[in-house]
Symmetry: C3
Subunit: 201 residues, 3 copies
Amino acid sequence: MLYNLIDVLGTIAFAISGVLVAMDKRLDVFGVFIIAFVTAVGGGTLRDVLIGSTPVGWMTQPNYVVVIVITVVISILFVDRLKNFRKSLFLFDTIGIGLYTMIGIQKGLDTGLLPIMCIALGTMTACFGGVIRDILCNEIPVIFRREIYATVCILGGGIYFLMLQFPINPTIAYITGILCIIVMRLLAVKFKIALPNIYSK
Amino acid sequence: MLYNLIDVLGTIAFAISGVLVAMDKRLDVFGVFIIAFVTAVGGGTLRDVLIGSTPVGWMTQPNYVVVIVITVVISILFVDRLKNFRKSLFLFDTIGIGLYTMIGIQKGLDTGLLPIMCIALGTMTACFGGVIRDILCNEIPVIFRREIYATVCILGGGIYFLMLQFPINPTIAYITGILCIIVMRLLAVKFKIALPNIYSK
Amino acid sequence: MLYNLIDVLGTIAFAISGVLVAMDKRLDVFGVFIIAFVTAVGGGTLRDVLIGSTPVGWMTQPNYVVVIVITVVISILFVDRLKNFRKSLFLFDTIGIGLYTMIGIQKGLDTGLLPIMCIALGTMTACFGGVIRDILCNEIPVIFRREIYATVCILGGGIYFLMLQFPINPTIAYITGILCIIVMRLLAVKFKIALPNIYSK
């Protein structure tokens, strides 16, 4: 129940980020919908394709399509007011990232992958919707250029597998993983923590 | 027989559209071939990957490769005269879109997907070759920016499923779906019907 | 043993080419790693997805991830000195292309595909890591614009299948295919052989 609510909120936040980028590029209403859709389900779709879990997730769960259509319509109608919800959107987005990472890790475990591959899969689930969005909009993906984003997914996944080494209830480890990702991202943005600069000039 | 002929004409039209975009970007002959190939088979390939129908279609049907190679060679040799066939090309392209949409829908039904997902799959089959073409050529996909294109696929698919509610021969519904897409696209282009503008300024 | 060594050298060369393109775009350290990773494993991943060999190769072979991580770290630390190894890198890269092409062809044969499709699959394995790298970096893929690169993969694959028509030991045909690709590419670059120009002006 709570899980479903978080999933829906994450989907909405991801879809809205797609709408904003697409409208910035002045795409037509079909383009805006596709970008929103791809941003919301692209990460999970890539994950499912790479592990061979087909038909991919959203094809058998029409509720995603419904949620995204409604989100796109409302976002386009009230795009000027979306700015007022910037903070809420950022929070939903962060919650979505935490949840999507752990969903991807779980899928990897079910497929029998090693922990390091599960973490890669979880990070991909959380981050590659945005990568595909940026490619379709002809931009270098924003997560390759700035902001601690994928890094917190990787760290959160690592913490989860570390906890599994101890006699801890898996559900508690699962929830702790999600919370760690959320808290680390909030802290990173609040204190403007960035990846080390690798360029001398 | 007729079906195969239409399929070949559609493939040719899609491949030529790839050649024209690629030559506009002054790619070398290998690049032109790849773009033509991807434009012609990209939509069906994405569809097959997403539903897990592998090896993907063109890999087991070498006739596609043969048709596309011949199309590319002839197109490059006579590129200056291609303009004279603009209207025929547009017609083949439109017929291809109608056919590909219904092929995709049929594949979705065979996979046991819901009607709304079948329509998404059909639209993808018809439109995503062009999307991949534009991404490889470093452009924002043209169908996200203008022209009623995907929209007629969605409407045509909707009409098909509507007809299936009534005691109508499925083959007739199938053909009607294709014809509706073709006619709607021709009308939309003739009367310059566009999607509603969502930008206030 | 030798085979594994070549595979590792090829992976390193591909990863370094990714690091160089990514640093040229001034991506952050996470972006550099992803581009290096995608360049090294992207071609094989696309191949595995298209033939339905999932989970895709690198997911079950963590040594690729380890090799790439080490390569990226060393490359970033000593990026200024990488120029001195330009010739070695080009050689590794060429060896990698020869090997990857034949690995892809072998996978195609195991899947029961026709020779022409196996050659397409081999060429894809060798070349599409670079294509995905360029798309992620918002460039038109370099292999569509210049340099005999894919063409030597196609020719090498053709030579391999030609040899299989004669009573030749398959392993010898396999190694000859790899060597042909390597030699043809070295000659093409040395003598500046290019694809015929298809543009009149």
